[in-house]
Symmetry: C2
């Protein structure tokens, strides 16, 4: 481990980029240099890394030539344009949805399928935030009992829509508190079905990502998922209500045993104090939290649970960093 | 219909009582007199009814003797104490949970089981708000195709916790906006599993109400419901994500036909504009709204839908008033 790495962040001023920058301060990856790129809107800005002030530089394909690891956190369009060039020179870790379903690109949650990293061809994708949190919670059941079908409803925070959506939530809420008349699109004390485009079958792109990415990560095309994705007026951290149908009848104790052994997953249940995971408590945490794990009284092979995790960390930046750390460990 | 009715509201200053008062201004029930009671905290207060200013009077059993219809909106404890006395003199319409599962008390959503009103013995209960909204949406499927099992996750507004919870939401949100440090119990931009007491099987009382009341209203003890009830930072109107398993395979067109014919249920779907029900739009409306009705790709006999309704109106005061109007129509 004498090698030091030249690291590039594309989209360093966005919500995920900022989290990644801060995570890189404590990573085990030996960093030789860090270069931060962002869109022209961030021209002239700087970012802090340890004690240093780094300039935001314009994204130029030449940068890839002197780079070992490039994190792409600037959205699908930028990834689609630059990763085909970048992958020739550097390992690309893509946090956008651009390459997630590409059969030549591993889609990885290190706690679940790090073996997929072995076959990368210069690009590794980090999954959709909600898919990551869902799989972190159901994977121990998948491994132990087999999972046939998942019915899930999500409670997704504004952070998933970037700084623009966070600002809209804050502004609309402030306006509602001041007693101003709200429009029907107001996000203040209001919620919405996820507004990504609908398929012909009336599932939103977010719901389809959840399904297709889960199948790919588990290498299980037969897995059935029916999801309803909802944007709630929460600033950060996504929650999911999950009903899991397994291949076997379940006993609650063995469900707990399986879940307790899952790295990165924390059971948070204090029945007496009625303390279960909340977005507030999960914010800024790297773990995925699960609670109210209970057998579904309507089916012997089903279990209900409540899952919460920080969308920007395990749902994005932290999972991306874990991928990089794993690849280096595998070298 | 020459008879005029002496009406009593117990709990007239609460959220539901206030809605009822306002609905009574336009009811078809001919009102001879209206008496408004509330707890000692409301002593000296008045309420408006049409142009009149009515005093809040103390709840005294003598009042029931000169009363034809008494609405109980002051919570379970008050209902439990006073309804056994009141029912000897007046028709009691109970909006609390106190008598809902009493086998001698009809539990009625007029659009669904108004025939149960015929057998009342002085007390009729109006169901839990979430149960009412759920059943308004699934009843047409129940009637047409048979419903075997429901998996639902709720997005319940602060209004369900009364004025205290609304104030907490407003205060905590204001404090969060001002940048004050929040406690882990903060409701500002945060959500929680419904905090009603948990059963041994770890279902909350709210989740059990949803299940048991639905079975009673549909007279179907075999109906399976697995619910996860969640309190979201929304001021008014509850939402539900619902997966319904029917006894037959479904075609989307026949699902729509059934739902279109359900009185009080409104399909709200503009696919091009991605316009579906929201709490904001459903607030202050008497209808229950449903949208994103789609076949569950994982099961041929399952359908997913999104349901929103005003918890204080169809979920409480309006359903209570409809019960009274129906009883009078049946006289």
């Amino acid at each position: 481990m004498d090698k030091k790495y030249n690291v590039l962040i594309v989209g360093a001023t966005g919500l995920v980029g900022q989290e990644l920058l801060s995570l890189l301060e404590t990573t085990s990856i030996p960093i030789a240099s860090l270069t931060c790129c962002a869109s022209f809107r961030s021209k002239g800005k700087t970012v802090k890394f340890h004690e240093e002030t780094l300039p935001i530089v314009e994204l130029d394909p030449k940068l890839f030539m002197h780079c070992d690891i490039a994190f792409f956190c600037a959205g699908g369009t930028v990834s689609q344009e630059f990763i085909p060039i970048a992958r020739k020179h550097t390992l690309c870790i893509d946090l956008s949805s651009a390459f997630r379903l590409d059969p030549d690109v591993p889609l990885v949650i290190p706690e679940i399928n790090k073996e997929a990293l072995l076959h990368h061809q210069g690009v590794i994708a980090s999954p959709n935030c909600t898919a990551t949190l869902l799989l972190m919670a159901i994977y121990p059941l998948y491994k132990e009992f087999g999972v046939r079908r998942i019915v899930t409803s999500t409670y997704q925070a504004a952070s998933g829509g970037g700084i623009t959506l966070i600002r809209k939530l804050l502004n609309d809420t402030e306006s509602a508190l001041q007693g101003h008349k709200q429009s029907s699109e107001s996000y203040g004390f209001n919620l919405f079905l996820h507004n990504s485009p609908l398929s012909e079958e009336k599932f939103s792109a977010e719901e389809i990502k959840l399904k297709e990415e889960s199948k790919k990560i588990l290498s299980d095309p037969s897995l059935s998922i029916s999801a309803t994705c909802v944007r709630v007026p929460v600033l950060r951290a996504h929650s999911l209500s999950v009903n899991v149908e397994c291949a076997k009848d379940l006993h609650l104790e063995s469900v707990y045993t399986a879940m307790r052994n899952m790295p990165g997953l924390q059971i948070q249940e204090d029945l007496d104090a009625a303390l279960f995971p909340t977005p507030f408590m999960a914010s800024f945490q790297k773990e995925t939290f699960v609670g109210r794990i209970r057998l579904d009284p309507t089916r012997k092979n089903c279990v209900d649970m409540w899952v919460v995790g920080d969308q920007l960390l395990k749902g994005a930046a932290y999972n991306g960093l874990q991928i990089a750390e794993q690849v280096i460990a595998l070298l």
